[in-house]
Symmetry: D2
Subunit: 337 residues, 4 copies
């Protein structure tokens, strides 16, 4: 960390900051410029709280030098992380497609969709049993019955299942049925939940919060990793901006940036990222071209009757066409699909 003193900081101010830093077990390095004094801090391996220092007399601001994430960082773990889920390798040469309905609605709906996405080449079945909804009056998901239907679909199709868990105390229940635990965008900074999935024996798909920076996403991953679960998949799903034509603004640069900063696999959710089914295919192609390790796509046999997010769901035939169109893109970047 570097401390930038105000133009008029006194000798006593500088000494006070230096003394405080040394008291915290760090070494200082004072550099007096013509207009400002800069204090460099040589750390002792433990993070310093910038705000404590920023409150001291004569301090203008502080600048962090080291990235705050460690276990999630590529500096710490230079090779790509990959792991296998029932034979599906995430983070390998194959681009993994997770597809299925936004919400599990009925046995017929989930089985019909599971068979259709499997036939089109999807590798994982997605579907929500517990649904975070803005309105208390909207459908909140089938709950445990939804988990049972997903498990039934896995038994019939062989596709591993990813589904969202919203509460720490429900992690054991969801983990009993699902192959991958999803932490949704609204819960990316629900630390009790991150702690709980960090102790679970299941891979975790961590969605970027719509209000969260890339650094915050990696810090959320750090929570999970630091509790002992190393199988974390990062998911870019769009951030909130001023643009009203799309539901969110999908941050395509996040894909190469996350791959550069971290060793964890990175997937993209073009369905939530755009909120419009007409845009899903183009954005899926972009994600694969940008280097994503996978995609998460909403498919529904009758989107106009879906109980949630119908506007962003593809029909099975359209999804099959998307899969066909993605294969040459995957090949163009040296991957399969």
């Amino acid at each position: 960390m570097i401390v930038i003193m105000k133009p008029g900081a006194s000798r006593g101010d500088v000494d006070g900051v230096a003394a405080r830093i040394q008291q915290l077990g760090c070494t200082t390095h004072i550099s007096e410029g013509q207009e400002r004094t800069i204090i460099g801090i040589i750390g002792n391996g433990r993070p310093l709280d910038r705000e404590q220092i920023e409150r001291m007399s004569g301090v203008e601001r502080t600048v962090p030098i080291l990235r705050p994430f460690k276990l999630a960082s590529r500096d710490f773990h230079p090779d790509d992380t990959s792991f296998s889920i029932d034979g599906v390798v995430i983070g390998g040469v194959q681009v993994i497609v997770m597809a299925g309905p936004c919400a599990v609605e009925s046995r017929d709906q989930v089985l019909e969709t599971a068979h259709a996405v499997r036939a089109a080449g999807a590798h994982v079945l997605r579907g929500g049993a517990f649904k975070p909804r803005t309105s208390p009056y909207s459908f909140q998901g089938l709950g445990e019955e939804g988990l049972r239907l997903l498990a039934a679909a896995r038994d019939e199709t062989g596709l591993p299942v990813v589904t969202e868990v919203m509460e720490p105390q429900l992690v054991p229940l969801v983990a009993a049925f699902a192959d991958i635990l999803q932490v949704g965008a609204r819960n990316m900074q629900n630390y009790a939940l991150l702690h709980a999935v960090g102790e679970a024996q299941r891979p975790v798909l961590l969605k970027r919060g719509m209000m969260c920076t890339i650094e915050e996403l990696l810090m959320a991953a750090e929570y999970i990793l630091s509790h002992g679960n190393h199988r974390v998949i990062l998911c870019e799903r769009g951030i909130r901006t001023f643009e009203p034509y799309t539901r969110n603004t999908l941050d395509i640069s996040a894909v190469p940036l996350l791959k550069q900063l971290s060793h964890l696999p990175v997937i993209v959710d073009p369905s939530h990222g755009t909120g419009k089914w007409e845009l899903v295919e183009a954005v899926s192609r972009a994600a694969v071209a940008a280097g994503a390790d996978g995609l998460m796509i909403e498919v529904h046999p009758r989107p106009e009757q879906a109980v949630s997010d119908g506007a962003q769901s593809l029909k099975p035939a359209r999804f099959a066409e998307l899969m066909r169109n993605l294969r040459p893109i995957a090949a163009a970047v040296g991957r399969s699909l």
Copy 2:
């Protein structure tokens, strides 16, 4: 709701949408313009899912007519809501100031601060026992011990206590010590938590998420209200924007807007809203002038040693000066403080 059809929508498209709406128990009203057909929907009291309709053939988009919140709406409850907590009336003529440290660190720290803010005229003591921290390596709060220290400070000073609760299963524990349960910005859409505090016998201070709209804040309040707890305080604490000089951008217009849309009391947190102690006084004055029912301000006897958010905390002497300067503003808008 109104459905706007695409320019080229066919007769069959229009009939299909109308049939679907009628099947959902609503009445339609079709209006054919020169370029577009518009379908008005006369509802049956239950909310319709816009996305289901948006996915239908020939539909361009839908427009909601009614606000999605009911119990939180001033249309539903025209008079201001106010309630008393140990003699402190929230939502009345007096502007209520909640002050104290960001985090409870020690018995001495919390007692010293509690006495100081009480002497300066604060009405409620704030302090965090459970702290949401971006990094898993940062101080996470004293937990139950912190709750006990807050309760001790209440016993000594008579100030009611507000503190954050982060997990549904901790609501009973926190409610056993605190007078007001705080739902933090990161948890504004943690629906399990909203459900839990909605069933608690304590008033709830609900902070606006840093990337949440005013409508979403009111929908989060609706969750709490719909579970039976009618004592909800809304808190504007700044939203995330592109401006880097402040930690957040405090949305001052939210104060009159929330008062207009809702009957619930509205307070402002200028400490998180700016992230800089030098700005807290000016923004506090602005909040009271704009009509806020209260303020939530961080005060710490030694901010440069605070374990969190030191940069936005006032020293007690500065806080006392702020209180003195706020009184004429409160008087200028017909209130006391």
Copy 3:
């Protein structure tokens, strides 16, 4: 347009609005719901000012039905617009790459870069002679001398030239040297400039403002088109968000969305869109995969000595590799490069 009345609007309010609308030459269509009255307006072909109506007694808000752009709309002009500039067809089957330095610095620099990008397969030379700089103390470009150097590079390499024009009165000068006039992001709503390039006899490359919506970009195009210049190229170059790791957030969904809403060619600028040369290739691949008609990329022989935007410029060798890697992506979406 639709007018949504407040819940308590009186009969007189509704009659007043209807009378005003009829006075403006439009027909009304009143629909009384249980909670609200809605007034539909059937227009006379001229746009109505929503704000006039919104100010009337009893009105809650208005909802526009028609898109405000006409000449830029695909509804108005269903086929893709394409045009040729010195044999380079923009908006055709070939993906067009515009490459060159951010700023023209010297004869050697621009000629060396022009030859290098031509050898790698670029189709158009870009370079700034007039530079918009945040600081009045930064290099502002070589001005007319820069234009002459660009023209010299065109003479040597045969590449058409695109360069920015910042003032209406300089349009004739820039048009005398350049093949394509660029309107920069900061000037997207400089209406005098839009008017001036709308009357020029040169194609215009219009960059999206960093805080402008897609609708505003199309309205800026509408200004140019409505002054008689039909050769407009839209350019997505990233929008401003809260994410600090990249200079801007490139809105990849804007590519398919603009192609759907408009007939105009759409290109992407990954250099400004990311601000980091390490991300340019991945985002370029994404743009082509998403359906962009072209790319605009900064190339500099010695980026570490560039007088502006060095951090986002590729060296020629890296650019050549990018071009090689883009070709299979272009082929995968049925295009050449």
Copy 4:
């Protein structure tokens, strides 16, 4: 400036950066930490281009130490700037109110409004003769005729006039009629215009761009100041965010922050800042309480017939009430109005 090298930067990388910096006339100061090497730069008074350095081998990023603005900075000019326009002192103890219609529409409209706002206590008449409009089909202002009407209103009422100028070549014409030249939000980074008003003999009211940071606003002021015009008024008028209920999000913290960073007077425009007349009074009170030196408010005798921005205009009676309600707030912060 400080250069932060990558973890794996070689000895040669560090030497290369140091050599380059020395070649640019600066001195370096190298500090080797356990994980990173940091290079401090002691400048020679001229700004360095960060991006040049960031592109060098082994560099992770650079950190600016000095603020980029000089003439606009309070460090440079510790006392508040104030100046008189026809006896109206801007930046003094009195809060200055500029009021009038968004657009000048007719002689009657502007005279009626001017008399009304003067009677209510306004100090300056505002009104647009040249209007920046998103649509080429909207009313663009009366132009020179509008300027004449404003001058006529000044002659009748004695109120100085502020009006927008949108093009560099129109500065002399507008300056011939107006007392204060306004640079609008969309033109805050129109550098040719900033240059032109910097050479004019009239005070300039500079509006913050809706997409611009506080630092960029001060850099735009720096353009004007550096061309010799020292009479610049800064205006906060709301920034663009994700919140849809208001037209913009008024950044109230900008008021104390600008007063702290700069010596220039700061005013607030609550009409554009909110876009809703119902919110104008509350936000005006907040602005004065926060320390603003003035306000700019839209007033129209018949807002429902206004040709632009009717929804945010107050009627004269409401404006007079606002003025009455502002006086005790001004007094509470030690000012008059």
